[in-house]
Symmetry: C2
DNA sequence: TTGAAAATATTGAATATTCAAGAATTGAAG
DNA sequence: CTTCAATTCTTGAATATTCAATATTTTCAA
């Protein structure tokens, strides 16, 4: 017989991702915000304008999904669109003041989670895991 | 400023998972099968009957999604349902002969991928990463 | 300079997922 | 034994995601 599915890297990643994501979702739900929106706010919180393509890459969403999520966030006045003056094909996304306030709250919820992981999983394993994940991602490009 | 999103464990996991999953998807698409169906076949390939609840846990899908995916797989005669004689609330899923044949092909495609990762990423980092992921998952329960 | 190809974002239809409710069966307390 | 709560799975409606097509702008070669 072949190796069981629980030994495949793809499966272990999916499982770990699912679990950690579930925990984070649970915390962010206190503010009624999906994980993807937190990512968007966090990327935009540098105050710069980011094009949709750039954003889609950064927040791990494909274009149409991002467009529709941004539509919602614009309705909620968390972010706003500006046409890029240098390339009018592009739309630059900016975070609003309301978005910044929300983002701060979300950050602290996310930090709570990271601290919880550090406690139960350990300091060294966590940083070692992060290092390995980064290098796996690098080696996949 | 807060830590950038790229330093959060949740983000790194999502990114790595997305990338590895994308690669696996690409291989399995040669047989026109989504990753989740491969997982289902693999779990069932022990020949035992598995209840829907058990399966849903194992393949990281929630109940209704699994039910509908199983409906498709039953249509394709890859698996079949049998009512559990000991507990008639339960449905036991079995893999068919056709399912077994397909599963073998998929396994070798998946093994290809694992080997590709081992080559580009290295033998030791891979097993170390797997170990850390397993223990993260453990510590989250 | 013009026109074709590439890049960027959005839209709408098709598909898939999720949530909440329902049906069937079992378990267990009174 | 009966009844009520819990377990298991499925269904249908609401929601979200994806694919393919479209519109707009830019790039670049002829």
């Amino acid at each position: 017989m072949n190796a069981p599915i629980t030994e495949h890297l793809a499966y272990l990643l999916a499982q770990a991702n699912r679990e950690i994501n579930r925990q984070l979702e649970l915390r962010l739900s206190k503010e009624g915000v999906p994980v993807e929106q937190w990512r968007i706010l966090k990327v935009l919180s540098d105050g710069d304008g980011h094009s949709m393509g750039e954003l889609a890459d950064a927040v791990l969403l494909n274009h149409p999904t991002l467009t529709k999520m941004i539509d919602r966030m614009v309705s909620d006045t968390l972010v706003y669109r500006v046409q890029d003056p240098n390339d009018r094909r592009k739309v630059l996304m900016f975070i609003s003041d309301r978005g910044k306030v929300l983002c701060k709250k979300l950050n602290s919820l996310a930090v709570d989670q990271e601290e919880h992981i550090l406690e139960s999983y350990g300091d060294k394993p966590t940083s070692e895991l992060k290092r390995l994940l980064e290098s796996l991602i690098d080696s996949s490009n």
